[in-house]
């Protein structure tokens, strides 16, 4: 890779209290502007890896360096929308800016921009309980985008959604990543989703989690659902599936 990595993970291991070894000797470089999917079965340590990158937990060994230290440079989206139920959509999206101490005028502009990016301008004053699952995830995405992060970490964000909503949000994410020039690290258990979204798919093996295969699907810029029907897409899905099957074997996942 020519450009300096945005995130550099060097020989990182993570053993939790109680002895569970979540990750062993993980080394990964994340290039600026890249869309990396971390793919693997349950227990392969992908969520742990995201939390390590975000600085929410510390590695037991190894190091993680980011070219954007300080708060606000990383956005995080969980599998659940993780919204504050007592706050309306605008206040939820404004949460990072509020914590970072941005002034009200700037906050208003950024919230409006983030909501426009995810197509929820009309719902600024709605409360989370009035929103569908897909809309809640859009709010969560808008909140992560509001601080104008360089790196967006997404932990199975669309796993709980129906396929139609999931496909639509996948397209939205590709569009937003291009528009905002984001570096994205996306955790998923779906081979098809990873190949569709990412320009790099890292397959992780479970217990302990570690990368075992690295693919570059060559997803075309500006791709849409039609790309799913091409032979290039299905071939790549086949290759990635084989790699996943190889690490899973007959094990219970």
């Amino acid at each position: 890779m020519s450009a300096d990595p945005v995130v550099q993970i060097e020989n990182v291991s993570k053993i939790f209290e109680g002895g569970t070894e979540a990750l062993r000797d993980v080394t990964l470089s994340i290039a600026p502007g890249s869309f990396t999917a971390l793919l693997g079965p349950s227990g392969c340590g992908t969520s742990t890896l995201l939390k390590l990158i975000a600085g929410l937990i510390r590695p037991s060994a190894g190091s993680i360096t980011s070219s954007f230290p300080g708060r606000g440079h990383m956005g995080y989206v969980f599998q659940d929308a993780t919204l504050m139920p007592w706050a309306d959509v605008a206040r939820n999206v404004a949460m990072p800016l509020d914590l970072m101490g941005l002034d009200e005028a700037e906050t208003r502009i950024r919230v409006a921009t983030a909501l426009k990016l995810v197509g929820l301008e009309e719902f600024a004053s709605a409360y989370p309980r009035a929103l569908s699952g897909g809309m809640k995830m859009r709010v969560s995405l808008a909140r992560a985008l509001a601080s104008k992060p360089e790196v967006l970490l997404l932990d199975e964000p669309f796993a709980a959604l129906d396929e139609i909503t999931r496909n639509r949000l996948n397209d939205d994410l590709i569009r937003i990543a291009a528009e905002e020039n984001l570096t994205i690290i996306f955790v998923t258990h779906s081979v098809f989703e990873s190949v569709y979204l990412a320009d790099r798919v890292v397959v992780m093996a479970p217990r302990p989690g570690r990368p075992v295969a690295d693919f570059e699907p060559m997803a075309p810029a500006g791709r849409d659902q039609d790309w799913r029907l091409t032979s290039g897409y299905t071939e790549m899905c086949g290759k990635v599936s084989e790699a996943v099957q190889a690490v899973v074997g007959g094990a219970d996942v």
């Binding site: 606000g72 969980f78 993780t82 007592w86 949460m95 990072p96 509020d98 309980r129």
Partner: protein
């Protein structure tokens, strides 16, 4: 009739029906007033003793509200301390439980001796606070422990200070449980105040409990019922006010306030 009207009117209609039945039965069976007075005689006793009963009601209400506020601040404060230090929780919580499970009637004489009969108001306040304190402590402690871990992670990611986390995340998240604790605690503060007045006995307390004891000693049963009625009204008012507060604070977002089509 609309559902709201039915909800409001049905208990009122039942109450009126029972009062009429009570009055009719007392008259028909010629029940002596010192055994069971009818509603009209009780109302008459209320009107006759209105000034003294209202003064007593005010005294009981003052102790109740003061105890409730002290319990609220102490309970929330201690729960926050517990959430910050597991060691403090492990050390203090068993004693809070011990204080809660020991009957206030049993503690009251000791508190009265320690504080002194010349400062009876303070003794009543302490006793009522002891009774009212635990539901708030327990509800707030549970609420603070139940804060969404994902939101906690996000607050950390964006560098929130402890104060920001408390004000913008932990307290709003705890609010539904705290309000439930407050509703229980409001009623218990009144019970605590009344029990403390009973134990304090004659010549010192001035609240409604003392009026009940005094009326009982004189076999003035209508006045006893009048004082009881005022106590009930105080309890109901406290509950309704706290329910209104709960509605005002939660109606926009909490699941318990959501009206569903059935």
């Amino acid at each position: 009739m609309s559902k709201t009207a039915l909800r409001l009117l049905s208990p009122i209609m039942l109450g009126i029906g029972l009062l009429v039945f009570w009055e009719v039965m007392v008259r028909a069976l010629d029940v002596p007033v010192f055994v069971l007075p009818g509603p009209l005689v009780i109302f008459e006793a209320l009107v006759t003793n209105f000034a003294s009963l209202m003064a007593s009601a005010w005294a009981t209400l003052t102790i109740t509200l003061a105890a409730f506020l002290v319990a609220l601040f102490a309970g929330v404060g201690l729960a926050i301390l517990f959430s910050r230090s597991r060691l403090v929780e492990l050390m203090v919580y068993p004693y809070a439980v011990a204080l809660q499970v020991t009957p206030v009637v049993a503690i009251a004489p000791l508190i009265l001796i320690w504080v002194g009969y010349e400062r009876i108001e303070l003794a009543l306040l302490i006793l009522a606070t002891i009774v009212a304190f635990f539901p708030i402590l327990s509800a707030t402690t549970l609420g603070l422990k139940s804060v969404d871990h994902g939101l906690r992670d996000l607050f950390r990611l964006y560098g929130a200070s402890r104060w920001q986390t408390l004000i913008k995340l932990e307290l709003p998240s705890t609010l539904p449980l705290l309000l439930t604790g407050m509703k229980t605690s409001g009623g218990l503060a009144l019970i605590g105040a009344v029990v403390a007045e009973f134990v304090a006995g004659s010549g010192t307390a001035t609240g409604l409990a003392w009026r009940i004891v005094e009326a009982g000693n004189r076999l003035d049963i209508p006045k006893m019922f009048a004082a009881l009625l005022l106590l009930s009204l105080l309890g109901i008012t406290i509950f309704l006010l706290l329910s209104a507060l709960e509605w005002a604070l939660l109606r926009k977002w909490h699941e318990s306030m959501v009206k569903r089509e059935s």
